[in-house]
Amino acid sequence: MNISLVGVGGQGILLTSEILSRTAALAGMDVKKSEIHGMAQRGGSVISQVRFGARVFSPIIINGMSDILVAFEKTEALRWRPLLKAGGKALVNNQEILPITVSSGQQPAVENPDSKLGEFFGDSLSTINAAALSSEAGNPRTANMVIAGALSTLTPFTADLWHEAMAGRIPAKLLDVNLKAFEAGRAAISAP
């Protein structure tokens, strides 16, 4: 299975992709994770790709080969659609972070991104409001785990396995609030 995670620096993409990779490893699969994050700190795009299965060769997922596109930000979902295979699922966080080119007026913002997302991804689109759900769960900084929870429903792994991967990576004192956020994301996507 091929999963691409895209967004903007500071959104917690790398932690999410690491937990996804660890979950796949716990499931006994071969797994590779590759990322480009050089400019993350300075507001640039971040992309992380995770592939797992019986045997994985290339760490890179090419255009048209992602089973799932997880976008932490709406403009990035539109930008990276070419990665998604025909019929693949798009999981999009309902957040828009304006790039400097827009806030400084050099380029226009995307007009009505929500309808563009609908047009682009149709039935394969799931959206999630990670900011709201993470605040409800107790800490707005766990928005990435809300997204991980939503993503978990699209993967072949049990919630228990995801929990185990999270426990192996997240400091004990923050684990509970992260698990709560994860469950909130899971519930939000399962509910029709």
Partner: protein
């Protein structure tokens, strides 16, 4: 107990260095190599490690450690190897005592680099063995093997990583609790004939290098890292490094000769493999280094038309190769992206201390020879205040060259603190000595920010957190002969303007050190009081937009112009926009 852990190749190298008994490690940061040393630093009790001031010094530290009998590692990015080549080129003559491993990480496709170059070419030039791992397991195993090989043949050994191995995590079978290999230091033996490269002693060394290269070629021919994976023999692939993974992905059914130890090239192994397949194809990332050697040995190689010679390879490009060779490849259908999407370029952080200097230099219409660091972002709109960028340290020499060419107007060199200490000092010495009149602006944020905030000699602590001297940059500038040296608060725009104007117009060489800590490194961005724009005072003049601060947003439209507004979540209250505003419209939130 052995078990599988997910590691990047950078992490795997660090683990292996520890397990293989490495005791001295030196590096200068550079993407994608940086995490090698960052992970070694976690093992600081076992490995003496340092951020050296540049790659040449790092290599020299490793050379000394090797001559003293210790196992040692040095790490750098591809362009860092250019800097380190001088000592390496002669140390290959002298030869290692304790195992010396050189980690060099290439960046095909230039994700975070100023150029693209294939370090294997320099390894061949230096006549040193090269390992090319294709995943983290191999990075781990090859690092072990490289230490052994280095001692067996008395030669520094290269491990060539690339972005897609350095920054990809794959499963590695290791026992993290395994005891560290007890490598007894060989100790130091004084041996002038062996260790002093003067012509009389270097000539016999030269002959030994050639003999060693042939011995290494034989070794490579029998190495377990050079292996044939038999398959359909209509096609046979010779490949190395990450390219192997793409070949296996796209041509799973065909025979492959995987070269893990690719220099010196085991030509006879390739000849034997070629004899077992109908057509031989070479797939390698960047330069046709293997292919040219194979052809030179008279072995027939398919003349591939698919362009694979520059930029990063990926399964898509190898699929194009399959289409060329077999005509049976169907690339997956690809859906379009949205036309006219706004770009998301990196920008200087909100409140970055570099911003004001560029704002003022643009205002003073200076020609700016730039350098490499976060501050290179000053080249982009709306600041657009950097005219050139070449390599680390090049700003000062090239600014002097502009002056000597008779260019009109104000000429400045702009360079960061880490870059100045890396390779700017000699350039400045040259300006003083050769009577230049340019102004060198040193952006001193006391950290190596671009590559992830590593300590440098201006930081006051070492890689391990130990306290150390804090280098006095102003004193260095005076010591190399610059008389006009001053320090300015990088956030005081009026003072910056006054000083820069005065120094740029002065008839002799000068240095302006703009001081302001990196706000990310000092976490000044956390919990700061943001500024606000009073919409009643803002006249939509647009001046503050020229700072290019990502926290300054477009507010209410006034005709074709816009008032400004500040994003309170992004603003760190650096005060620069308040100073720029002529209408007192900006102030700290009360």
């Amino acid at each position: 107990m052995e078990h599988k852990v997910l590691l990047s190749a950078n992490e795997a190298v660090a683990q292996a260095a520890y397990h293989a008994g490495c005791t001295v490690a030196a590096a200068y940061p550079g993407t994608p190599s940086t995490e090698v040393m960052e992970n070694i630093a976690k093992l600081k009790d076992a490995i003496r490690c340092e951020w050296s001031v540049n790659e040449k010094v790092a290599a020299e530290v490793a050379i000394g450690a090797s001559l003293a009998g210790a196992r040692t590692l040095v790490a750098m990015k591809h362009v860092g190897l250019n800097v380190a080549m001088d000592p390496i080129m002669t140390f290959t003559f002298v030869g290692a005592v304790g195992g010396m491993v050189v980690i060099v990480a290439d960046d095909p496709g230039m994700h975070s680099s100023q150029n693209e170059q294939d370090s294997r070419v320099l390894a061949k030039f230096a006549r040193v063995p090269v390992f090319e791992p294709s995943d983290s397991q191999e990075a781990y195993d090859m690092t072990h093997a490289a230490f052994d090989l280095s001692e067996q043949f008395e030669v520094p050994v290269f491990i060539r990583l690339t972005t897609r191995t350095s920054h990809a995590s794959t499963l590695v079978n290791i026992d993290p609790d395994a005891p560290r290999k007890e490598v007894v230091s060989k100790g130091y033996t004084k041996d002038i004939i062996r260790n002093v490269a003067v012509p009389a002693y270097a000539r016999p060394m030269r002959a030994r290098v050639e003999k060693r290269t042939e011995a290494l070629r034989n070794f490579a021919a029998n190495s377990e890292f050079n292996r044939v994976e038999k398959g359909d023999n209509h096609l046979g692939f010779v490949t190395a490094g990450i390219s192997y993974q793409y070949v296996k992905e796209v041509f799973p059914e065909f025979s492959v000769l995987k070269l893990g130890l690719s220099n010196p090239l085991p030509v006879e192994t390739i000849r034997n493999f070629a004899a077992t397949v109908d057509r031989l194809v070479v797939v390698e990332e960047l330069d046709p280094l293997l292919e040219e050697q194979i052809r030179a040995a008279g072995i027939a190689v398919v003349d591939v038309k698919t362009p694979l010679r520059m930029m990063e390879l990926n399964p898509m490009r190898i699929t194009a190769l399959r289409q060329e060779l077999l005509g049976d490849a169907t690339p997956p259908p690809v859906q379009s992206t949205l036309d006219g999407l706004p770009n998301r370029p990196p920008v200087l952080c909100a409140g970055c201390s570099h911003r004001g200097v560029f704002y003022i230099l643009a205002k003073l219409k200076a020609t700016v020879a730039g350098d490499i660091g976060c501050y290179t972002l000053g080249a982009f709109a709306p600041l657009s205040a950097m005219d050139t960028t070449i390599c680390m340290g090049a700003s000062i020499g090239s600014a002097l060259g502009m002056e000597k060419a008779g260019m009109d107007g104000r000429i400045a060199a702009v360079i960061g603190d880490s870059t100045f200490l890396h390779s700017g000092i000699t350039g400045l010495l040259n300006v003083a000595y050769n009577r230049g009149t340019i102004t060198t602006v040193i952006l001193d944020n006391s950290i190596t920010a671009m590559t992830g905030h590593q300590k440098n000699p201006g930081s006051g602590t070492t890689i391990t957190g130990a306290e150390t001297v804090t280098i006095d940059i102003a004193a260095i500038c005076r010591a190399v002969g610059i008389k006009r040296v001053c320090e300015v608060d990088a956030y005081n725009l009026a003072e910056l303007e006054r000083v820069l104007k005065e120094e740029l117009d002065a008839p002799e060489a000068s240095v302006v050190i703009a001081k302001g800590p990196c706000v990310i490194a000092t976490k000044a961005n956390v919990g700061a009081t943001p500024y606000v724009v009073d919409p009643n005072k803002c006249t939509a003049c647009g001046l503050c937009f020229k700072l290019g601060c990502p926290a300054i947003l477009r507010g209410e439209a006034v005709g074709k112009r816009f008032k400004s507004a500040i994003d309170p979540a992004a603003c760190i209250g650096c005060d620069q926009c308040r100073q720029v505003c002529k209408f007192n419209a900006i102030s700290p939130r009360s």
